[in-house]
Symmetry: C2
Subunit: 368 residues, 2 copies
C-alpha cells in the first residue's frame, strides 16, 4: 500500500490522499466512514461495475445505500442521470451531511463528482476508480461534468475528491481493449514528465499486459505522482495543466470523427503518434522517438494510424471547433524529449500551423 498526498488549496482541508494497493476494495468503506464519522455514505456506480462484482466487494456486507447507473457508459453521462441521482438521495433523506463514493470508471467518476459538486451546494466525493483510464487520470484532478445535447462536459465543475482509493485488482475484470487502451494515459504521463517511467513501462510491458498486480501498483504510483503534481501547480487549467492534453488534440478529433467507435485511449494513441510527427516536421523531434512511441503503443495493441474511413476534412473541422481553440485553430502539446514538454516562451500548448498539421494527418492515414 502506498499513500500519496495531493495539495489542493481550493479545498478547506488543503489536501487529499490517494491510497494505492491491491485487494483493498473491501476495506474502503470502513476507511471512509472512519474519515467522516458523522456522515451518511452513498455509493454511485454503474451496472457494468456492479456486474463485475465490485459493488458487492466495496459494500463488504454493509447496507450502505447505492445508486446503480444503468446503462453504463457515455450514453448515461447527462444531466438527467444527475437529476435522478439527486432525487434518489433526497428520497432517502440524505442531506448535506452525506458523502458520495464514486465506484467505477471515468464516466461514473464524472457523474458522481458533478452530483457531489452541486448537491446542496457541494458535499464530499471519494473516488474509487476501477479502470486503467480513471486510475491513471480522471479520478485525480477534480474535473467533473456531464454532456449536454450539444457538447461533452457542457455542464461541469472543478470538484476535488476528498480522497481517492485505488485497488488495482479491480482492473482484472476489464475487457482487454478497455484495459489496454487505458494504459495509453500512463504512456502519456511517462512521455510528458518522466523518462525513467517510460523505461519502466518498456521494461515491464509484458507483465503489464498480463495484469501483474505488482507492476500495476507501481504504475499507479507513477501516474498519481505525475498527474497529482501537475494539477497541484495548475488546478484550473491556466497553463501547465495543458501538458496533460498531449496527444489529445488530434485524439479528440479522431475520437469524435469515429463517433466514439475508437476508445479514448486508442484515439489518444493516434494523437501521440501525430504529435511525434509534428515534432519532426518542426525540427524538434526525431524518427527514433517516433519509432519508440509507436513500438510501445503497438505492444499495447493500440492503433497508430487513423482508420481510413474517417474523412480528413471532418477531422480538420473538429480541430477548428476544439474547446481550447483560439481563432478557430487549436494549439498543440509537443515534446522536447522523452519526459519533457516543449515550450514556446512560457506556454506549454504551442502554435502549429494548418499546413504542418495537414501534412501530418496525411502521414497518419498511410498504413504503417
Amino acid at each position: 500500500m502506498t499513500q500519496i498526498t495531493i495539495k489542493t488549496p481550493q479545498m478547506k482541508k488543503g489536501s487529499y490522499k490517494i491510497e494505492i494497493g491491491a485487494n483493498t476494495l473491501n476495506s474502503v468503506l470502513a476507511k471512509i466512514q472512519a474519515d467522516f464519522p458523522q456522515k451518511k455514505l452513498y455509493i454511485i456506480t454503474d451496472s457494468a461495475v456492479a456486474k463485475a462484482g465490485h459493488l458487492k466487494t466495496l459494500l463488504a456486507g454493509t447496507d450502505v445505500l447505492s445508486y446503480v447507473i444503468d446503462p453504463s457508459g457515455e450514453v448515461s453521462k447527462n444531466i438527467n442521470t444527475v437529476i435522478s441521482i439527486i432525487e434518489d438521495m433526497e428520497t432517502r433523506s440524505l442531506g448535506r451531511d452525506s458523502v458520495i463514493t464514486a465506484l467505477g470508471g471515468g464516466t461514473v467518476g464524472d457523474i458522481a463528482g458533478f452530483a457531489a459538486a452541486i448537491f446542496k451546494r457541494g458535499i464530499p466525493v471519494v473516488q474509487v476508480p476501477t479502470t486503467t483510464v480513471s486510475q491513471a487520470d480522471s479520478a485525480i484532478g477534480g474535473k467533473t461534468g456531464v454532456d449536454s445535447s450539444m457538447s461533452k462536459n457542457a455542464f461541469g465543475a472543478f470538484w476535488y475528491p476528498a480522497a481517492v482509493f485505488i485497488d488495482v485488482t479491480t482492473l482484472m475484470t476489464l475487457q482487454e481493449n478497455e484495459y489496454l487502451s487505458g494504459l495509453v494515459e500512463s504512456v502519456k504521463h511517462a512521455l510528458i514528465a518522466d523518462a525513467k517511467y517510460l523505461e519502466f513501462i518498456e521494461k515491464n510491458i509484458d507483465r503489464l499486459k498480463a495484469c501483474d498486480l505488482e507492476i500495476l501498483e507501481q504504475i499507479a504510483v507513477y501516474n498519481c505522482n505525475i498527474k497529482g503534481r501537475i494539477v497541484e501547480d495548475d488546478p484550473t487549467e491556466k497553463n501547465l495543466r495543458r501538458v496533460l492534453n498531449y496527444g489529445h488534440t488530434i485524439g479528440h478529433a479522431v475520437e469524435s470523427a469515429s463517433y466514439f467507435r475508437l476508445l479514448h485511449g486508442q484515439a489518444v494513441a493516434i494523437g501521440m503518434v501525430g504529435a511525434a510527427m509534428m515534432e519532426i516536421e518542426m525540427g524538434i523531434g526525431t524518427q527514433e522517438r517516433l519509432k519508440r512511441i509507436e513500438s510501445i503503443l503497438k505492444k499495447l495493441s493500440q492503433p497508430t494510424r487513423i482508420p481510413a474511413d474517417l474523412p480528413k476534412e471532418k477531422i480538420i473541422d473538429l480541430l477548428r471547433r476544439d474547446k481550447k481553440a483560439v481563432n478557430k485553430w487549436p494549439k498543440f502539446v509537443l515534446l522536447e524529449k522523452e519526459g519533457k514538454v516543449y515550450k514556446q516562451g512560457d506556454q506549454f500548448a504551442v502554435d502549429v500551423n494548418q499546413t504542418v498539421v495537414e501534412k501530418v494527418l496525411d502521414q497518419l492515414y498511410k498504413p504503417v
Copy 2:
C-alpha cells in the same frame, strides 16, 4: 456612487467590487465589457424584469445577447431552466470565454449564478440585482442554485460574482408587497450586526417606505458592508455565516407551510418575532426588544403572526427536515442584544429544545 470591495480567497483575483448608485443601470454593460475586454457578454433576466423596462435600460442600445426566463418567479427556478439556458448559450456559440450578467431578483441571480458555475466548468457572473431582497442579500455572498422536485436549492454551488452593480432606481418598479417584504432582510442585518443601522431604519422608515433614493443608497451600503464582511469571514457557511439565518429557521418552515403564499420576507418577519419570543423564554431576551422588532415590521406592513390556517404540526415537521437540522432538529440564531448575536461557546446557531419552540409557535398563532 459608493464602491465596496469584498474579499474572496476562493476566487483567483481575490476580491470583487460592489458598486452602489442611482440611475446607473444604463452604464453597467460598458463597465462589464471594459472589465472583460476579450469576453462575450450574455444577459440572463426574466419576463417581469424585462417588462419593467430594466433589460432595455441595461442594453443601452447594444445588441448583447440575452435570455429571458419566462414565467418569472420560483416556478422557473429548476434545472430545466438551467439546461435551456446552457443549450441556448451553446446554440449561440458561446464558450468558456463568456461572462453572464444576471439582471433581476433573487431567482434570476440564483439561476444565472448556477448556470455560470457549471457552464464549461465555470465562467464569471456579474450580478445586477433589481429587488430589495437581492440588493440586500442574495446578490452578495455567492450562493446559487435551483430547486429539485423535492426541495429548494437542491442543486447549487458557491459561485462568487465577478462584480455586483446595484442601481436602487430599479426598486421603484417593484410591487409594494415585494418592495416592503424585501426590506425585512435589511432589518435582519441591522438586528444581527449594527444597532446604529437599526436606529437609522427606525428614523427614516417613512422615507424608506416612500422609496427615497438617497435613503435606499445608504441602506444598500449598510447591507453590503454587513453581509459582505460576514461572507468574507465564512464563505461556505461553517459557522459565522449562520447568523444570516436569523429569523429564517421558523421563517422557512412558515414559508413552505404556506406553499409560498407568504413572501420570503413576510415569513422571515414572523421568524424574527419567533426568535425574539424564544429569547424571552430562554431568559436572554426582553419584552421591550420584541415590541421594538414588531413595531418596525408593522410599519413595513409585515405580518408578525403565523396565519391561522397553517397547521402547527406541518411547521414542526418542516423544522425537523430543515436543511441544517442535526438529528432531526434545527438550531436557531438568537440575539444577545440589538446588533449582536447570542453565542453558545463559539457557535452562532444554538440549541433550543422542542418544548420551547412549540410554546413559541403557540404564541405566534395568537392574534396580536
